[in-house]
Amino acid sequence: MTKEEVYERLNGVFEDVFGRAIALSDATTAADVDGWDSLTHITLIGTVEDEFDIKFPMKDVVHMKNVGEMVDLILQLSE
């Protein structure tokens, strides 16, 4: 799976969780997206895990800094 493919599927996940299309980039953080609080974060993580059939380690769930880190982790865990 390429990074572009991850982004393509991730866009759909974000739209599903936040109810609107969000322009994602590596640098996108929770502070950039209205409504991305701790509760939405965990819903988002769960939906991403379902979409890619992976399980994020708890330390990454807590400390994930931006979308770029999420994408890297998805690629790493899907290997």
Binding site: D37, S38, I42, G46, P57, M58, K59, V61, V62, H63
Partner: protein, 537 residues
């Protein structure tokens, strides 16, 4: 040793000068010795409990770390020899062993907390239950029963126990999650658990952020020392001039609930208590953070203008932030990611139900525990549940709010609506103190009764008499407190102290002297005024 005593001022001054006078490699030893002296000053019995916690956490964390170390050594030794599945199974087995160590450590720490904090509560409830059951049998009051002996168990709750046990549990979980490596040096580990500024009332430290600072070598930094001292002064101002003065006037209200009548009267008392608690708790944090800053150590912040929060969720992101963070990372997230929660999520085909119900169940557990953390009484549990209900309602009604927001976004994003949200949140918080402060449901019910049945005019008269006309100056100090919060609200990244530092020398020193003399003249200190509200937790 409380922060607002002469003993502490003398202790800290001596420690501060010694800290920068001795060779830097011994600085952390001095902090450890100072922390042990600080905690053991009141009673060596406290020290024994602290050392038990340190030892339990040390063994648990080092054993967990050893499991991972052996796993990594084995994997590196057999690199290329194991299939992907074999590697996965091996890792899972190691993870299970680490989980066992974590479980044993957490149970041991919870037992320690349970014995000293919750045993009496459990016994009282069991006695109530057995008494109710035995009441159907013929009574024989002259014969002592096990119930008579059990009811006399009154263990002294060591100050700060809940705080340092939670900090220790967080550290063990971080080691288990492989976020940090365990500290192998017992004494360095002991310093992390016992660092004196945060020992009695938090902030609950995160190992990854705090521990490296504690053992680092620090050079004297005039700017940091000055800012630290200013923050300590601000903490003294909050505690001695606001919290203590309000407490001195409204304590009789809590002791004689029946004498104060009417909704307005109790509204005023609860409002004053809200300010008192904030000034008390955040004042302590300012002194803790200020002392640490003078030693070159940055503690996590615990408050961020909480009474300007626009929702209950927002309030808990601003009030006692390190505790909220702890519950989020170590209880709420694991609950939401647990197998039973996932099964529940998948059980409902309806998207709304599959999100709201499992989340609500996790929130209910978190807020029940938050209430219980604050104290061993049903009053605190109800107070936790009170907040839990607001949080659940917030999630359940979110789609409705979103629809309304879509109809009139301009209204919901307007300043008046934002002010309404702040006032609404503050009112909910203030109302919650009617459960929190009495800490027993009878007290809360008595307040409700006094609000509903009381004579308003009589209540106002009694309250005026209790507060006394000189109390008016406290409103001026309260306004100063709120003004500083408003400054921070609009300058989230700015520092008021940096702004002050840019003022002319004469203006700055006039201000410093004014604050110092105001604290000396208007503050309430000395015997009976050195306890902080959160000591009892």
């Amino acid at each position: 040793m409380a922060f607002t005593t002469l003993q502490f001022i003398g202790f800290f001054a001596a420690l501060f000068f010694a800290y920068y006078a001795i060779p830097k490699r011994f600085q952390w030893w001095l902090l450890l010795g100072g922390s042990m002296f600080f905690y053991g000053y009141a009673s060596p019995y406290y020290l024994l409990l602290l050392l038990t916690t340190v030892s339990l956490t040390y063994i648990g964390a080092v054993a967990t770390g050893a499991v991972y170390r052996r796993r990594d050594e084995y994997l590196s030794l057999h690199k290329g020899e194991m299939s992907r599945d074999e590697k996965k199974d091996f890792k899972a087995a190691a993870n299970l062993r680490a989980k066992r160590w974590l479980t044993v450590t957490i149970i041991a720490l919870l037992l320690l907390l349970g014995v000293f904090k919750y045993a009496q509560f459990a016994i009282d409830n069991l006695i109530a239950l057995f008494t109710a059951l035995l009441s159907i049998l013929p009574a024989s009051p002259s014969t002592p029963t096990p119930i008579h002996y059990a009811s006399s168990l009154h263990l002294l709750l060591p100050i700060g126990l809940s705080f340092y046990i939670f900090q220790s549990m967080g550290y063990c979980i971080d080691v288990y999650r492989e976020e940090v490596l365990p500290e192998k040096n017992f004494f360095k580990h002991a310093l992390f658990v016992s660092f004196f500024p945060q020992l009695l009332q938090g902030p609950i430290g995160n190992y990854g952020r705090l521990a490296p600072q504690l053992i680092a070598e620090h050079s004297f930094d005039y700017q940091q020392a000055k800012f630290g001292l200013q923050r300590i002064a601000w903490g003294f101002f909050k505690k001695l001039m606001i919290a203590n003065v309000i407490a001195d006037r409204i304590n009789p209200c809590w002791a004689n609930i029946g004498d104060y009548e009417g909704l307005f009267c109790w509204g005023a008392i609860l409002f004053l208590y809200a300010i008192q608690l904030y000034a008390d708790f955040s004042g302590y944090m300012d002194i803790a953070c200020g002392c640490s800053q003078m030693l070159g150590i940055k503690l996590d912040e615990n408050f961020n203008c909480p009474y300007f929060a626009t929702s209950i969720a927002d309030f808990w992101r601003r009030w006692h932030m390190t505790l909220s963070e702890w519950f989020k990372n170590y209880l709420f997230y694991p609950l939401l990611r647990s197998d039973w929660n996932s099964r529940l999520r998948k059980f409902f085909s309806n998207k709304y139900l599959s999100t709201v119900l499992p989340t609500s169940m996790a929130l209910a557990i978190v807020w029940f525990t938050t209430g219980l953390w604050h104290g061993a009484s049903w009053g605190y549990v109800v107070w936790g549940v009170y907040y839990g209900l607001f949080m659940i309602a917030g999630i359940a009604l979110a789609p409705l709010y979103d629809r309304l927001h879509a109809i009139s976004p301009r209204f919901f994003e307007s300043r008046p609506y934002s002010i309404f949200q702040m006032l609404r949140t503050f009112a909910i918080v203030v109302l919650g103190y009617a459960i929190f402060k009495p800490a027993d449901l009878c007290g809360t019910l008595a307040i409700v009764q006094q609000c509903l049945n009381g004579n308003e005019a009589q209540g106002v008269y009694t309250l005026q008499y209790t507060l006394h006309h000189s109390f008016i100056k406290v409103f001026f100090w309260m306004a100063m407190l709120m003004a500083v919060d408003i400054y921070h609200l609009y300058h989230p990244l700015g520092s008021l102290r940096e702004t002050i530092a840019k003022l002319p020398l004469a203006v700055r020193w006039t201000g410093y002297m004014a604050v110092l003399w105001a604290i000396i003249f208007f503050g309430l200190y000395g015997s009976g005024f050195d306890q902080f509200e959160y000591f009892k937790f």
